[in-house]
């Protein structure tokens, strides 16, 4: 039911945020607070590793939408990687796969 957030910076403008747990209205505020600042540097690449996120709902979608808006505003980039198929499905249903750079762990599979 919790979410742990870990951020590393392999290179100056490249940050990798690794999430582990569930993204819902309880855990989302912390995620937003950690994620948004990473997108506010011009030329930054923010990679969010969702390989250990087994649950997300619309609160999580909202956070990634605001992060995406922030990248457009600041000239940075965001990639969502290793997304579980079930979580991907929510991005798909809501049409967000059209505008976000998403890579799933077992895309098409399950």
């Amino acid at each position: 039911m919790n979410l742990s957030i870990d951020v590393t910076k392999p290179e100056e403008k490249h940050s990798v945020m690794t999430l582990d747990g569930e993204v819902d209205a309880f855990t989302a505020p912390k995620l937003k607070q950690e994620l948004l600042p990473l997108t506010e540097t011009e030329g930054a690449l923010v990679e969010v590793d969702l390989g250990a996120v087994n649950y997300m709902d619309s609160t999580g979608l909202g956070i990634f939408i605001s992060a995406l808006k922030s990248t457009k505003e600041h000239g940075s980039d965001m990639k969502l990687v290793h997304m579980h198929e079930r979580v991907y499905r929510l991005f798909k249903i809501t049409g967000l796969t059209e505008i976000m750079d998403i890579n799933t762990s077992v895309r098409g599979g399950m």
Partner: protein, 159 residues
């Protein structure tokens, strides 16, 4: 679950920390009923959306609100009711603002909310919303016959 109808009721404070607790209870009920992995995940999201709305929109920030979750366990379906006693809202007006992202939308103007009710609708088989004294969301998910007793990690063919 021999009886035609079992009723489970859960009452929690309208606070974000209890959304996960209710989600866990619902997934327990659904798994006991024999829902498959995919349908359980859908149920978890739909219920969390309804509860999140109760937490975020029903009560004023200084109010100590409560949410009631009722589960009707039938042989062929799970009915879940999420009710608050907060303010009502204009469903027709809201309906015009929710739904999936449209290609034409400009990313800069993209809304960051408004996916909750849309997801409930997409993930459940039947949804009814009443907004008079507080809001009641009544949602149904059917247990497809071929799912009963199935292994949780098999792929569902029932969508």
């Amino acid at each position: 679950m021999v009886n035609a109808f079992d009723f489970i009721e859960v009452k929690v404070p309208a606070k974000p920390e209890y959304i996960g607790v209710v989600r866990l209870s619902i997934s327990g009920i659904a798994s006991r009923m024999g829902f498959n992995y995919e349908d359980i995940e859908d149920l978890k999201v739909a219920v969390s959306e309804a509860i999140t709305n109760g937490v975020e929109h029903a009560y004023k920030s200084d109010e100590d609100g409560e949410l009631t979750i009722g589960c009707g366990v039938y042989e062929d379906r799970l009915e879940i009711m999420v009710a608050d006693h907060g303010g009502s809202f204009n469903l027709e007006a809201v309906k015009e603002e929710i739904g999936p992202y449209q290609q034409e939308d400009n990313v800069e103007e993209l809304r960051e909310g408004g996916f909750g009710l849309f997801l409930i609708d997409a993930l459940m088989d039947k949804v009814e919303i009443k907004s008079e004294h507080g809001v009641i969301v009544l949602m149904t998910k059917y247990l497809h016959e071929n799912e009963v007793g199935r292994d949780g990690d098999q792929v569902s063919t029932s969508q």
